[in-house]
Symmetry: C2
Subunit: 439 residues, 2 copies
């Protein structure tokens, strides 16, 4: 790209983030010019409906409802592709790359599923895909893993990557409210989508974790190869029991090297309440990174939102304009220290665990539980059983009380075997709630 002529940008998809990107490019022309060394011009922005009112004023001729007006325009150097999902986003990205455009994207679902294919396609066409906005919005985690930690082998990533879930967990505990009540409020306040399924079931966090793990460990782990669960089944009582034990429940995305294997999962996890990750409340994201040279670092900030995500997108546009993103992209496949890291078998993953049983309040019940756990070599670190204020009598007249135990370190497989036996106890009523503890 010549240094003198303006860099021309096309935006595909003028939703919330696209509008934010357009706003920065149009309202801060001088700022961007100063940082790039030449003009950056928004040439085209595609919308579905040209007549819909917009909350950013664009020069005449910029808006178009024809994607080909971006793809076929030889003057456009950089395409900001902000349509979600994988279809038609995947094809559009290939057409943009084949037409000679660098692409900036915030689409984590697309990169999670087709990142390797699209990266290879981009390399074949000597183009760059920049994707800082795809993970953790305004937090520069892609730059940190992909550039700043280059002296390190990353050894551990523990992260809050879904702001909606974190907001709901924070509010449940603060207000003492059930999941469904808080979700409704979150939707009214704009912290949760009308269809929040991907956010609250762990899919969104898992997609972002796949991208981070690919960068940090050079290994593509498909979504269905590692366990994920969300917050949609969580009960308030587990948040309050955890708090009593000095833990906070967070939807934690974890990828770490353990004895040369990659342990990966997304699940509600107990985090000791004095850790920074436990202190990350509301709609914020937080990533705790560990590298073999740097030790631990933490990054936190807005994981979503119009201008925070637009900030990351425009930083990528600037990086492309000055040529930095091209260098970074060309190095990403060189990132890993090892041949593909093998994935740790789920049953071998060891944690301390939080368990909640609903037991009938009568003699020897806890002894039966402790006996089964003991025979599976699972030892207990602490136990909570309160006198229940809401004892529900069962058909045989005994009331049901919750019993919470914290185990010592144990492999998940042992616990699963024990749970299979426990589920046979008639004095124990399903479900058994199990969450790992992050120390």
């Amino acid at each position: 790209m010549s240094e003198s002529k303006p860099l021309q940008v096309g935006i595909i998809g003028m939703g919330t983030v696209g509008t934010g990107v357009a706003r920065i490019l149009v309202q801060h022309v001088d700022r961007i010019r100063r940082r790039v060394g030449r003009d950056v011009q928004l040439k085209r922005a595609t919308v579905r409906d040209l007549d819909k009112p917009r909350d950013v004023e664009l020069p005449p001729g910029v808006l178009t409802d024809d994607i080909d007006a971006v793809i076929d325009d030889p003057d456009i150097d950089v395409a900001v592709q902000l349509i979600g999902g994988t279809d038609p986003a995947r094809d559009i990205m290939k057409r943009l790359l084949a037409a000679g455009k660098h692409v900036v994207t915030a689409n984590k679902a697309l990169l999670c599923e087709f990142g390797d294919e699209l990266f290879e396609f981009a390399r074949k066409h000597d183009r760059t895909i920049a994707f800082e906005a795809a993970v953790a919005g305004g937090i520069p985690i892609i730059a940190t893993v992909g550039q700043s930690m280059s002296a390190n082998q990353i050894t551990s990533i523990e992260a809050i990557l879904n702001g909606t879930s974190n907001y709901i967990l924070t509010e449940m505990l603060k207000r003492g409210s059930a999941y469904s009540d808080v979700l409704g409020d979150a939707q009214r306040l704009g912290y949760a989508e009308a269809d929040p399924a991907m956010d609250v079931d762990g899919t969104d966090a898992a997609q972002k974790l796949v991208i981070l793990a690919q960068l940090a460990f050079g290994t593509k782990v498909p979504l269905d190869r590692f366990p994920r669960s969300g917050i949609d089944q969580l009960e308030l009582t587990d948040l309050t029991c955890a708090a009593e034990l000095n833990y906070v429940v967070k939807l934690l995305a974890t990828a770490r090297l353990v004895h040369g294997e990659l342990e990966m999962h997304v699940q509600p996890t107990l985090v000791k309440c004095d850790r920074l990750i436990a202190k990350t409340d509301g709609p914020f994201n937080m990533i705790a990174l560990e590298g073999d040279a740097v030790g631990k670092t933490w990054l936190s900030g807005p994981g979503a939102g119009q201008m925070a995500t637009a900030s990351a997108v425009v930083a990528d546009v600037v990086d492309l304009a000055v040529g930095r993103a091209q260098v970074t992209f060309s190095r990403l496949d060189l990132w890993n220290d090892h041949p593909p890291v093998p994935l740790c078998e789920e049953d071998k993953i060891a944690h301390r665990f939080y368990l909640r049983f609903n037991v009938e309040d009568r003699p020897h019940v806890f002894a039966d539980i402790a006996d089964i756990l003991g025979r599976h070599d699972i030892s207990l670190a602490s136990i909570i059983q309160h006198e229940s204020s809401e004892q529900q009598p069962t058909s045989n007249g005994a009331s049901i009380v919750p019993v919470v135990v914290m185990t010592h370190y144990t492999a998940q497989g042992k616990l699963r075997a024990a749970e299979a036996e426990l589920s046979q106890l008639t004095s124990l009523h399903p479900p058994i709630v199990r969450m790992p503890v992050s120390d």
Copy 2:
């Protein structure tokens, strides 16, 4: 630099950090090659005493006690300059640049005082100075401000930039110990230097803040142009009184835009205890950044230490090897949105304030204080006066008790004027302790 021949590195100064850098370059040759795309070779490392034992094994011929062996070696592309202070570091850096070497440095004192001169000198010789390690060790704050936030005007930096001070403050409160006791332990444990003056008096944090402010606001503010104080005069009682009010005292380095002026200071500051910055304990650093697009982001990690600092240095070497650092450096002078931002006059800076008075325990004393504050238009948000267990009688028989007040927002100048009047009260014994509150 050719892509095929190895990048040759010289290290000037094999102290703690230099040894860490050498260790990464020598022990992780494959890793660095993979990330750079060619070999990175440690050609020379200068030491004062060739016979001193080293805790890293280097190939024969690498160690030298002659700095000119690096400066005059035309094969060395990148010099890692790790000698502290400004003299002879300043001259050595110029000689390295003039000899055609890019320079990586961790020397904040040098960049704080002579950064503009050295940057200009480097540009004249078409060379790059990379300095991620100069501020906050392993935290990628230079890359974040200099690259990732390029869509933003940074509006606020609030930071814990001195790990020694933060460790001492954390331990004082945790153990209920006096400053001097904790300092002694910190020195034994290696968290404080034998001569800790620059760390505990705020100078080190102020030097780092000058560098960050230059990047974020394009304004060079000399050290003597903004107020700084350290933790060396702090008494435990102020930490415990702050805790009672739900605040934590941190040595906070602040640079922010207020009505188009730059407010800058380094001082012990009360931070509400639920903020991430208040939760940053021990020898860690934390930077809270605010940008006009991204909103708030936080970065935390080790601010010093051998391998954390070496991690930042080697990342700069990698960035130089791939050509990214050169692009970044060429853009740094284009960073600011404005003509040089004027500095906010000290007396105009407004905060809420924490004040502690030592007063004689007799009638009307507090009324006198409140009267003077009120006449200077300073209103009080809260007041703590405890029955003192250690009342010391004065010469006139009255005992002395501490009184703590928190003011509402007020300009520092008003408070200073009020303090001048207060100091005339015979019932009030010096000193008056004053700390700002960060909300």
